[in-house]
Symmetry: C2
Subunit: 402 residues, 2 copies
């Protein structure tokens, strides 16, 4: 009996898009769905009630961070990271592989996953990594790295990533992979992809060997291959033939090619398994990913940019530190149904940001997460009722003013 | 028609203690009650729902801080600080007079209100003041001071304090006063007290002159007089004869004399008006203040120390950064009914503190505030059922292990 089931309910005519339901041991996820990131077993600045109330269906924590602090054995003894953080719904953990990338070959090159070459669009991990220098070394067996916290040396292998993720106890976990830079040459992309495929097989074997864990945790393989169609399609074929419960699609892409690249991959991956595009949070990218067949997405951007005062509205992003908001007694977005918009004004949030009050981060994070969760909810509804293209056109015209 | 009514329901036999109800235009307060501090129109790290859910009945904001940021006229235009911060219950603002003290004569002397000489037990304002130097100058008419934020010069007088507090719009506001250092000589204490009495009269006149404000905001006079019984009793007589809606009792005391000094004052103040002891948050002090006739108390300590990892339990304070809590999967206090204790473990909070996660501040503040709010609720019940002394003896024996 598989721990993860996926049922497709509607397809978006003429595209790869679909609406479905993922069933996990801890509840269901209506897809497409925006996954909330709780890096260190906390969605930054929010209680789990606030996370639930904004409509989040699933929380993804980071294996690398929880391994270092408080340690995966403490999380195991607490009953897994969901219980540790008081979250009662579905959960995911990533593989730790992104840290291989951010602390390793790409460190200091100012490129991140899903970036135009030379433009950084990455998670918070890299900010921390600044202290560490090039501290990760990849070999066939795994990766050796130094902690961003204290410089101590650690080693991840596919088997170790599985062991840690078994201890963390999420419903859906990821095979250990290497996330390359879009700037890396073709030869390196191929070498890294082939290694990721061998690591995927070892991850799957290690996962199945732990019968207790594999009975209640689903394993997702991670498609790599950089910007190259040939490699992406090969990765989708090789991994698609393995017995995974779903798939992650890892960076790196050239951002302009992303929708096409996701489409190449999803045309090959088994249709009846969920697909998670890792690290996507810009509205236009969510539309592109959904119509190209992705079901799940996660990103730290809504909370991270929210903490800096940048908030989504249907008319585009605004920064609340701008002087024009000091006396603006309207909600952040009058059309938004979030707690922040129902109860507080732009002027109040502007005051909180100018005063360095922690509540600013809480209210901004609630709004930005709700905005993206609700946007993907609307995409789901529009797939079901056939109005996806209308939604996409009208949203993008208004949000991006084009 | 007075905006503030106070009804005494029970008296604690053989003491000055009483249980009652304060009625304000925005709701009632069952007394004695611990007042939650929302310095800048935010109880730090908490939404107003969280403040309400922990049982807080009333929020006190600081006039000095809101005057500087965002400015009292913006708060007025927002509908007052309660509406600005989305709080629907009773509210208070202080007079700004404590900042006269903390930025003025006492600056750098390492004494605060309610301190043993040489020991600092003060609010956060003084921490900020460190940047400013001795920046307040008192004259008969008022006080000139420089902003801790940008060094700009400002002036408070009794009339200006009233005007600002009218703009902030709290249900209960305070007459402008000077809070002296307990280390100040007798002659200065008398001089400052006499001036505070003249300022009290001017505050009262300015308040009554604004008929719209005085119809919906009650004004509390602030008793001063330092450590001297003669001055304290004189201050209580002089102010007690004025037409205030209640009284604040301001620092400074020698901490050892506090209970006695509060008793001297409350034996003289009109019995039928509420009394607020400013800046008290240590459990033993709350017992002492209640049995000596105080009805309200406020303090930043529960949230400030909470943010540093120090939490109240019935067995005394604990600091969650201590290594022994890393694997402690029990609640902060198993007897506590707060959101934090019902849903999270010491190990999880220890992880959040060690990871510098903002949720640590939120969960610790909820717990510490609930602990004090609930403790004062129990005092109220024990006044009503006659068990106050039993509660006091058993609580103190366990909390302070003596």
């Amino acid at each position: 009996m598989k721990p993860i089931k996926f049922n497709i309910e509607h397809k978006l005519l003429g595209t790869l898009g679909r609406a479905g339901t993922i069933t996990t041991p801890n509840g269901t996820i209506q897809t497409p769905a925006f996954v909330t990131v709780g890096t260190k077993a906390t969605v930054k600045a929010l209680t789990t009630e606030q996370v639930r109330d904004l409509g989040a269906q699933v929380v993804l924590a980071n294996t690398y961070h929880l391994y270092l602090e408080p340690g995966d054995e403490i999380v195991r003894d607490a009953g897994g990271f969901a219980k540790f953080m008081n979250w009662s719904g579905p959960t995911m953990t990533d593989s730790g592989g992104f840290q291989v990338f951010s602390l390793g070959a790409a460190f200091g090159t100012k490129v991140g996953k899903l970036a135009k070459v030379g433009e950084v669009i990455v998670g918070e991990e890299i900010d921390k990594g600044d202290q560490a220098g090039k501290l990760a070394k990849i070999d066939e067996d795994g990766v050796t790295f130094k902690s961003y916290r204290d410089g101590s040396e650690h080693r991840f292998t596919p088997e170790r990533s599985m062991e840690i993720q078994h201890n963390l106890g999420a419903d859906m976990i990821f095979a250990f992979d290497e996330c390359t830079s879009p700037a890396a040459p073709y030869e390196y992309q191929r070498e890294a992809m082939d290694r990721t495929h061998r690591w995927a097989k070892r991850s799957l074997d290690a996962h199945k060997a732990n019968k207790e864990a594999s009975a209640k945790q689903g394993l997702l393989g991670v498609v790599q291959g950089g910007r190259h169609r040939e490699l992406r399609e090969e990765s989708a074929r090789v991994l698609g033939a393995m017995d995974f419960d779903g798939y992650g699609i890892g960076g790196s892409f050239d951002k302009d090619d992303m929708y096409a690249a996701v489409g190449w991959v999803n045309a090959i991956l088994p249709e009846d398994k969920p697909r998670h595009l890792l690290g996507i949070g810009e509205p236009v990218d969510l539309f592109g990913a959904v119509e190209n067949g992705c079901d799940l997405f996660d990103c730290v951007a809504p909370t991270r940019t929210g903490r800096n005062g940048t908030l989504h509205t249907n008319d585009g992003k605004i920064n609340l530190l701008n002087a024009r908001f000091v006396r603006d007694f309207t909600p952040v977005d009058a059309e938004c149904d979030c707690y922040t918009c129902k109860n507080y004004t732009r002027a109040y949030l502007a005051h909180l940001f100018r005063s360095d009050e922690m509540l600013a981060a809480t209210l901004a994070s609630i709004h930005n997460l709700r905005f993206l969760v609700a946007l993907v909810e609307k995409m789901r509804e529009s797939i079901i009722d056939g109005s996806f293209n209308t939604l996409k056109t009208s949203f993008i015209a208004r949000y991006y003013k084009k």
